[in-house]
């Protein structure tokens, strides 16, 4: 389990319908850990055929922290959610984390459309960063 995972699953379990879930997502997106605007370059861009996602990271005190953004409200919320989930964890915990989190919160749909949005690519990238950190230090 990652740091915030339980809390997030609990939050999502409280919604009675998708409207509430989306409202929550959109709110999450408003408080996203923003990527430095100067870093919104192709280097940090994850291109889906529908929405754009930018992602950056930082390694501090043996933990990974992520920063991101997206051009669409809902995907920004999803990016914020993914950041909430992974930020502040150790590379090892991130790498070994099983992806059924999104099934648990019933958002798998958004994640399975690999090529619509950049989200599953984003998770791949997060794991790649974790892998690289692990190899650098270990």
């Amino acid at each position: 389990m990652l740091l915030n995972e339980e809390k997030l699953i609990l939050n999502f379990s409280l919604f009675n319908n998708w409207e509430e879930k989306y409202e929550y997502l959109i709110e999450l997106g408003e408080d996203i850990c923003f990527i430095d605007p100067e870093k919104k370059t192709s280097k940090h861009l994850i291109q889906g055929c529908q929405s754009k996602v930018w992602l950056d990271f930082e390694f501090k005190n043996d933990k990974l922290y992520f920063y991101g953004d997206s051009d669409a409200l809902i995907s920004k919320g999803l990016v914020a959610l993914i950041i909430e989930l992974y930020s502040g964890n150790s590379p090892k915990d991130i790498l070994t984390h099983q992806d059924n989190f999104f099934e648990k919160i019933n958002l798998k749909e958004h994640l399975s459309m690999t090529r619509s949005n950049g989200l599953s690519m984003m998770i791949k990238k997060i794991k790649k960063y974790a892998y690289e950190q692990l190899n650098k230090n270990g």
Partner: protein, 402 residues
């Protein structure tokens, strides 16, 4: 047939009473008769074709070749042998690129397409250009996103070795003046390919009258099975096609180091084809014939008018391409709302649309957009769905704009 009767031919709507399917430009549903044809193939006379001498194989082969005749009639081609079965429009275009154009195109030659093509009618030419040193050039486009036929000639010179463009746009539903484009190509003796992927279900085609060199489409957009496609080619070009897939069924005589290819079109159909798919496609053609294009056009025109009228009442809605429509395809954005957000919400409301760059990134970018939402209708849709769609669209907009 009435719209209601047509809708009843499609079992999808019985299983999906609450959803609205406005994604027919991506793929159409299949009438029960097409599904039954596939079932009957697998249950009754499943067999490989062209090879085995036995009764099941004979029936299967006859039905398979009968589909070829049906497609020949649909397109009013001269001979059945001008109809090549492929896996889809994409495959057909690649076949023209690899088997026809590649052998005759040289460095600095030009392939003339447009910026408004679907990726499938763009990327194969980009790649061929990369490979051969040829260049891509683009037909001039008018404000209504169709080719400006008055300005084509300026783009043409003796370096142009092929023109390829679409018949009806997958974005705007607008119909090119392909008659005129073909006439110009013809008069200058330049081969021309028409990508009919979005036209085939909406308008009658007569390749003899059009006099184009190539015409292609996908079965799955004509109420037929996935994994089927057609390339029509004039015989005189087909004779020179160099196969680019090799194997069983396309060779007559095989030695250890050389072999002789079969007659056309079999030479271009290596390996066991999508037999059930092709036979199902034949039935889809029968279905279209039984409805008739005059009924199809009548229904679709009235659906398009209704949709257009209702959409015009939605605030801040901007259509991509505003000319007259030959297919009920509407691509739009709501100002201030991201298309991904809108499509996500529509999806939650059980509406099937498509959003994003719609496999036409250059065109979308030419319009200064990052994407859009597309609602594409077909003969099985009705006015009630359009009304419900508008109600939900407005709900989604107010949710996102709150």
């Amino acid at each position: 047939m009435t719209g209601e009767e047509i809708r009843n031919c499609f079992p999808y709507f019985k299983s999906n009473k609450k959803s609205i399917y406005f994604d027919s430009a991506a793929t159409t549903h299949k009438p029960q008769s097409v599904i039954d044809t596939i079932i009957s193939f697998y249950q009754k006379y499943n067999s490989n074709i062209h090879r085995s001498m036995n009764k099941a194989a004979t029936i299967a082969t006859q039905k398979f070749e009968n589909s070829r005749s049906l497609v020949k009639e649909l397109l009013n081609a001269e001979h059945s042998s001008e109809i090549v079965f492929t896996n889809g429009a994409t495959d057909s275009i690649n076949l023209v690129a690899q088997s026809f154009l590649k052998k005759q195109i040289k460095k600095n030659d030009i392939i003339l397409i447009s910026e408004t093509e679907h990726h499938s009618n763009l990327v194969p030419w980009q790649q061929l250009a990369l490979e051969t040193g040829a260049k891509i050039d683009f037909l001039p486009i008018r404000a209504d996103l169709l080719v400006d036929t008055d300005k084509i000639k300026a783009k043409i010179n003796d370096k142009v070795k092929l023109i390829s463009t679409h018949h009806i746009s997958s974005i705007s539903g607008g119909k090119q003046n392909i008659e005129k484009i073909i006439k110009i190509a013809r008069s200058l003796n330049i081969p021309i390919l028409i990508d009919g992927a979005q036209a085939i279900a909406h308008t009658p085609i007569d390749v003899k009258e059009l006099d184009c060199d190539f015409y292609c489409f996908s079965g799955h957009k004509l109420f037929g099975p996935t994994g089927t496609g057609i390339l029509y080619s004039k015989s005189r070009h087909l004779d020179g096609f160099i196969p680019y897939k090799f194997g069983g069924g396309m060779v007559d005589n095989v030695g250890l180091h050389e072999n002789s290819f079969s007659e056309l079109p079999h030479r271009l159909e290596a390996g066991t084809p999508n037999i059930s798919g092709v036979i199902g496609l034949g039935e889809a053609v029968n279905f279209v014939k039984s409805v008739g294009f005059s009924v199809i056009q009548e229904i679709e025109t009235s659906l398009a008018e209704k949709f257009n009228h209702e959409l015009s009442k939605v605030d801040d809605c901007v259509l991509v391409g505003s000319g007259p429509r030959s297919a009920p395809i509407f691509t739009f954005n709501i100002e201030g709302i991201h298309h991904y957000d809108l499509a996500s919400l529509l999806s939650e409301y059980n509406i099937c649309t498509r959003s994003g760059h719609l496999c036409s990134q250059p065109m979308i970018e030419m319009c200064g957009l990052s994407g859009a939402v597309r609602a594409s209708l077909s003969i099985y849709n009705n006015e009630e769905e359009i009304e419900n769609f508008m109600v939900i669209l407005k709900k989604a907009i107010s949710f996102l704009k709150r």
